[in-house]
């Protein structure tokens, strides 16, 4: 026994972790932005669509939600290019995967949000002569977004943690940085302590910040 903690090597390579953390955040932000678009479009489409479209959207959602993320990451990065003529970097491939992944979760979030918009608001919109499109843009979506904001923040924070899976295709995010330091310096316990603290601090800072945003919007009601 006798493992003496020595953080010097961690600080010497801290740029790997710091850069990794920034990349993790970047991956999460880009993916949720695309995921929100996917989620919104499909949710709005779903609530007004016929059975076939509903079945297709539901199949997409259920497939993504019930398959491990790591398998989806492999499938998109190693699998797809063997059957379709595309080439992309690991990073692009991961963003595509995580966007599709978050999109599937957000369809569900937005769909139940749309259903939670009070009937009276939609009727009021009708009564003042708004077209269906205007009702969607000015009545249903704003209310729905306010309702779904907490779920949206939770999804974002869990996406931030999910970016760690990008390390399996060597995207140099935070977990990859940890692995690099682990294999190159063997300061195993130290690096994972530091990385754990980094994930926790960032995650809870995000949570705190997003809760503030939520409170603001709730007050606006």
């Amino acid at each position: 026994m006798g493992y003496a903690l020595n953080f010097n090597l961690i600080w010497r390579h801290f740029d790997k972790l710091w850069g990794g953390l920034l990349l993790s955040l970047e991956l999460a932000v880009i993916s949720i932005a695309i995921g929100i678009v996917i989620g919104l479009v499909l949710a709005v489409w779903y609530v007004s669509a016929g059975r076939v479209v509903r079945a297709v959207i539901a199949a997409y959602v259920e497939f993504i939600r019930n398959v491990p993320l790591i398998l989806l990451v492999y499938l998109v990065f190693y699998g797809l290019p063997t059957v379709v003529d595309i080439a992309y970097s690991a990073q692009t491939s991961f963003i595509a995967t995580l966007s599709l992944y978050s999109g599937a979760y957000l369809v569900e979030v937005f769909r139940s949000g749309l259903e939670a918009v009070p009937r009276g608001q939609i009727d009021a919109g009708k009564a003042i002569g708004l077209t269906p499109w205007q009702r969607l843009i000015h009545v249903r979506l704003p209310t729905m977004l306010r309702i779904t904001l907490p779920a949206l923040s939770n999804t974002f924070i869990s996406l931030f943690k999910d970016t760690s899976v990008a390390s399996v295709i060597s995207v140099p995010e935070l977990t990859y940085g940890a692995q690099w330091i682990n294999f190159n310096t063997f300061r195993i316990v130290e690096v994972y302590l530091v990385v754990t603290a980094m994930y926790l601090l960032t995650g809870y800072a995000l949570l705190f910040g997003l809760r503030l945003v939520e409170r603001r919007f709730r007050a606006a009601r």
Binding site: N66, S164, V168, T175, N182, V189, Y204
Partner: protein, 216 residues
């Protein structure tokens, strides 16, 4: 293409069996640990409550992958030597335990306070209150999310492939390494995971609907 999947099928089946075995162990162990800690969180003295709260918030705040690497690489460094299989089970169990703690806390919190006050009023002891009043009701709130959460154990188990454990994920990668048939095998794997997890989430939804008529 199909022939190669057929040829590799026994090997893939072994991997799948390991995936199920890891998931089962994790689910059972985390259920025991999670319920005990959850009761500690709801009814325990302050220091215990704090300890469980910190445990749960820490575990849920970091990626499962980091937890798996931490346990796998970190334990030997401090002199604890586990087979990679057990390190993986331990890491996933920690992750699931934190989830079970939250399911239990949520389920117990959803039972109106009047229930335990009434139980106290008719002179039931703490244990009797839990056994006859709180738990039977909380169970209905606990079961659907818990069953749905089993899918997280199955999905999370795919990460143990990174420790060189031949679960379904790793078996698929090995077969691809041999045959270069990436897409059919990944799709096959996705369908297998899907079948297991979708069945679980359907069961969860059905139970939820069945219990939903019960109103306090």
């Amino acid at each position: 293409m199909l022939g190669q999947i057929l040829y590799a099928l026994p090997f893939l089946a072994q991997g799948f069996a390991l995936t199920l075995w890891v998931s089962l162990l994790v689910v059972v162990l985390s259920l025991i640990a999670g319920v005990l800690m959850g009761v500690g969180l709801v009814y325990g003295p302050a220091p215990l409550r704090w300890a469980v709260r910190i445990f749960s918030d820490t575990i849920r705040g970091i990626p499962i992958l980091v937890l798996i690497f931490f346990v796998y690489y970190g334990l030997p460094a401090v002199g604890v030597h586990l087979q990679s299989f057990w390190a993986a089970v331990l890491a996933l169990t920690l992750f699931k335990t934190a989830q079970v703690v939250e399911y239990l806390r949520g389920a117990v919190a959803s039972i109106p306070k009047g229930q335990s006050e009434a139980a106290m009023a008719i002179g039931l002891t703490f244990r009797q209150r839990l056994a006859y009043v709180i738990f039977p009701q909380a169970f209905r709130r606990f079961l659907p999310p818990w069953i749905n959460g089993v899918t997280d154990a199955v999905k999370g188990s795919a990460l143990v492939s990174l420790l060189g454990i031949t679960d379904l994920m790793q078996a698929i990668n090995q077969v691809i390494g041999r045959t270069y048939e990436a897409m059919p095998l990944y799709i096959f794997g996705a369908l297998v995971y899907f079948a297991v997890n979708y069945a679980l989430s359907l069961a969860s939804r059905r139970l939820e609907r069945r219990f939903s008529f019960i109103r306090e």
